[in-house]
Structures are given as structure tokens and as C-alpha cells.
Amino acid sequence: MKYSSYKKMFSASLTYVIIVVPVSVLLGLGAALLISSLRFGGEIYKTIFFLPVMATLLAMAIVWEFTLDPIVGLVNKLLSEGCSVTWFHHLFTGSWLGFNPADSWYGNACMDRMPNWLGNKKYALGAISFIGIWQAFGFNMVLYLAGLTAVPRDLYSAAEMDGAKSPWESFKLVTWPMLGPTHVFVVTITSIRSFQVFDTVEVLTKGGPSKSTYMMVYAMFEKGVKQNLVGVGSTLTVIFLVFVLILTLTQVYFVNRRVHYS
């Protein structure tokens, strides 16, 4: 495999992980916080957000492909209809703040054409990451919900006595630190899983366009199995294993160190 291919592979894999992990972890945490503070209806949201975790990813990836299709896809249909809706156009081109609509991304897309999400190397990795986040955050939400039930209630009253008045302050003082073990767990699991992304890449982009979504497990599959280059495939496997082991050892280190309060 060429040096530049390796470079593209690392850049694609790491970018994917760097996008998917923080976003899906924070969305998971946000959803868990909102749901656990609701008076009613929390269970319904929990069920809905967990659906993508259960559903066959390959099938859902194909549905997303239709949705993101440049011509018949719903996303671009809605975006181009939004061009003629004045307030929507104003809001997203920034023209309500006095900017020139042609300078903004959306204004440009309105005048020219809507992007080909999976076929343009500028957007493909973003689109794949979006599907990854869509699929993963419900799982993180469930883990955070479990973590939240383990936070002792009396700590909140203690924090209030210590002067934590706003919900934000009590979140900062109590919830966030008490979720320490959950953070470590969720972040490692999500990173390891993001390194393993395969289904969406194989069915939607095949690593392209111009290797912008050429991620590690797909590279392993393409070289080792499809092209029967066992040596290259094995090299990639070892690299992959090193990455995953680093993540796992980091987790073990943090778990042993100081994130547990009990």
C-alpha cells in the first residue's frame, strides 16, 4: 500500500473518531440529563433514541443514502425548498445580520446546487460521521441514565447549601464529577467502536471519494480479503490492534486511578 494511502487512512479514521466520540458522548449525556429531569414521557424518548442501536445498521445506512441523495433525497429537497422561504433563507445565510447571502455556505448552495453529501470528498466523511453519531448516541444515553441513577440525591442538597444555586452549578459540582466512571467507560467504548466502523463505509462510499472515508477496518477488508494482499492486511490489523489496545489500557489506567469516589 502506498504511503499516501496510509496517510489518508489515518487521517480518515482519526477524524471520524474525533468527530463521533465527543458529539455522541455529549448528545448521550445531554439526552440522559433531559430525560431524567422530565416529569413524564421520559420512557418514550428513551425508547426512540435507543432504536438505532437495535436496528440493522446496514439497512439503515441504505435508508440514509436515499435520504442524502443529491437529487431525490429528502435532505436536499428540504434544503432547496428552504431557499425560497424568506425567513429560513435569511436565518441561515446570515443576511438578517447584514451579511451578503452569496458569502455564506447556504446562500451559495441555494444559488448553485445542493451538495452531493456522500459523493463529494468535502462532505462524505461528515455524512458518514453523522450516521455514526445517529447510531451511537442512544447507547451512550442508556449508560449515562444508569450512571445518573447512581448519583446520591443528598449530594444535591449538600451542594445547594454550599451555595450552588443554579442547575448549571450543581451539574458542575455534583453530576459531572460523580459520573466519572461512566465518562471513562462511555468514552472508551465509543472510541473503540468508532475505530471499528465498517458497514456504512462499505455500503455507502467504499472508502471514497478519493479515499476521504478510507477507514481502518475497511482498509483491512479491502486489502486482506478483497485483494488478497495478506501481508498488507495483516499490517493493518496490527496497527488497528495497537490503537485499540492503547485505548483499552488508557481506560484501565483511569479506572484504577481516581475516577471512582466510593
Partner: protein
């Protein structure tokens, strides 16, 4: 906690969650909706959720020389009929069931005795063996896929059911989980069974197994969901032979040889493949969430 009107913050929370829920549901909605609609309605995204269900003629059916009345049908009938006839969807589903059930059955057959030995029997090297189990837990499946594939290829087993099943039969995760569970079973129960003259194997199946039903159920859900949805491994070991394809792989084949205008049938096939697990999940949510989050340990 504070005196602000609760309904206000409550409404905002619901609004935020509703937007999130809409994005999450969107592909499920579209999948189901497209599986009902005619090609033209799919192209133009019209017709609401269910489509207008105007009668349509199946061109392939006409080409086969059948009379026009027989080829005229509702789009929903056309889509699902095409999904089952064009792609051997029924075959795929059957394969999926065979593969997931055999994997689970063999996993249990191996994991329960192993877990029993590791939890309750004293033997030389037990801790080393358990250490190896823990070590294997750290290895991700994708890392050993290539060597496994090469070994199966050497044995001439690629493109067989065996290739789909064998690599998963020894689940270190299952062994670990069951071992943790068996640790909590009191020794007296086992000693009493031994007094009654039961062999060690019948202790595993007649004494330990019934106590382990909840853990076993969680593991079953974990295993079945993982292997029903798995695309990577079938993609590696099955090349071409449609009679061996599992549902996700079958859907992939359907996609690669469809001729552009087959969105409806493909979405029907996707719906049929996704439906069993989603329905089961909606019926037994708590069990499923428990079972899937177990994977967190992997």
C-alpha cells in the same frame, strides 16, 4: 428546586427532545413509508406516509407474458412481493435464523461448562485460564478476522454455514459473564447435588442452568442482536452464494444489482429485516437495553 414555573422548563425540554426524536425516527419513517409507495411517489416524495395506493402495473410481470390483470396491483403489494421474489428474502431470513440460533446454542453449550469449571471447581492453572479469558475479552473481533478468514480458507470452509458459525461458538464474553454469575450461586447447592450422586455435567445443566436464566436471557439478546445485525463477518466469508447469505448481506446484494427504480422493493426488504428486532425490542424494552448494554463490557 427553584421557584420558576416548572411548565416552562418542562416545555423547553420536551421541545428539544422532540427535535432529537424526529431526527432519530426520520429514517425509520422513510423506510416504512417508501415501502408502501409507488416509484413515482418515492421520486417526488409525495403522497404522505401511506401513498395514494393507486394501482400500478408491474413491467417485469408483463414482460413474462402474463395477462395485464394479474400484473396490476397496489404499490404496497408490489413492493413486498418484489422483495420476496426478486431477492430470495425468505431464504435470507431463514439463514439469519439458522445462523443466530446455532451460534447461540453452541455458545451456551460451551460457555456453561467452562464457566462452571472456572467458578466452582478447583484445578491446577484455573487462574491462568481465567486470566486468558479476560485477556481475550480485550481483543476486538475485527483484529482476528483476517487470520480466522485465512484459516477457514485453508480448510476450504469459506462459503459454508460453518464459516458463519464456527468463529463465534466460543464466546469468551459468555464464559466471563456466566462465571461471574455462577460465583454467586451458593456452594451448598452444588454439594447437595453431589451428595445426591449427580455428575458434574448434570450439575451444570440441571442445577446451574436454571439459576442462571436471567443472565442467560440477557446474553441471548446480546448474542442474537449482534449476529442478526452483523454484516462484516458474512461479507468476509460468503462470496456470491446467495443460498448462504444472512439478511444484511442479502440486502447488500439486492442493492448492488437493483436497476435504479427499485427503491420501493428495497425499502420493503429493509423493513422486513429490521422489523423482527425492533418489534421484539418494543415488546421487551428493559430486557433488551440490559442485554445490549452488556456489550459495554466487551
Amino acid at each position: 428546586m427553584n421557584q420558576q414555573p416548572h411548565w416552562f422548563s418542562e416545555t423547553i425540554k420536551h421541545a428539544v427532545l422532540l427535535i432529537g426524536a424526529a431526527v432519530v425516527i426520520l429514517p425509520f419513517y422513510l423506510m416504512l413509508s417508501f415501502s408502501f409507495k409507488s416509484p413515482s411517489e418515492i421520486q417526488s416524495i409525495s403522497g404522505g406516509f401511506f401513498g395514494s395506493q393507486e394501482l400500478m402495473t408491474d413491467r417485469r410481470c408483463i414482460k413474462q407474458g402474463l395477462p395485464e390483470e394479474e400484473c396490476t396491483m397496489l404499490p404496497i403489494v408490489y413492493n413486498y412481493k418484489a422483495a420476496f421474489e426478486e431477492a430470495p428474502l425468505f431464504r435470507y431470513l431463514l439463514n439469519g435464523v439458522i445462523v443466530t440460533i446455532s451460534i447461540f446454542a453452541i455458545q451456551i453449550l460451551i460457555a456453561l461448562p467452562c464457566a462452571y469449571a472456572l467458578a466452582k471447581l478447583q484445578f491446577w492453572g484455573r487462574d491462568v485460564v481465567f486470566g486468558m479469558v479476560i485477556f481475550c475479552l480485550l481483543i476486538p473481533v475485527h483484529a482476528i478476522a483476517l487470520p480466522l478468514y485465512l484459516m477457514l480458507a485453508k480448510l476450504g470452509l469459506t462459503n459454508t454455514f460453518a464459516a458463519l458459525v464456527i468463529p463465534w461458538t466460543i464466546s469468551v464474553f459468555g464464559i466471563f459473564l456466566m462465571r461471574q454469575f455462577f460465583k454467586t450461586v451458593p456452594d451448598d447447592l452444588i454439594n447437595a447435588a453431589r451428595m445426591d450422586g449427580m455428575s458434574e455435567f448434570s450439575i451444570v445443566w440441571k442445577v446451574m442452568l436454571p439459576t442462571a436464566i436471567p443472565a442467560l436471557l440477557a446474553f441471548a439478546i446480546f448474542s442474537v442482536v449482534a449476529h442478526w445485525n452483523d454484516y462484516y463477518w458474512p461479507r468476509v466469508v460468503i462470496t456470491g452464494d446467495r443460498d448462504l447469505m444472512t439478511p444484511p448481506l442479502g440486502l447488500r446484494m439486492f442493492k448492488s444489482d437493483m436497476d435504479g427504480n427499485e427503491y420501493g422493493p428495497m425499502m420493503a426488504a429493509a423493513t422486513v429485516i429490521v422489523a423482527p428486532l425492533v418489534v421484539a425490542f418494543l415488546l421487551a424494552q428493559r430486557r433488551f437495553i440490559e442485554g445490549i448494554t452488556l456489550t459495554g463490557m466487551k
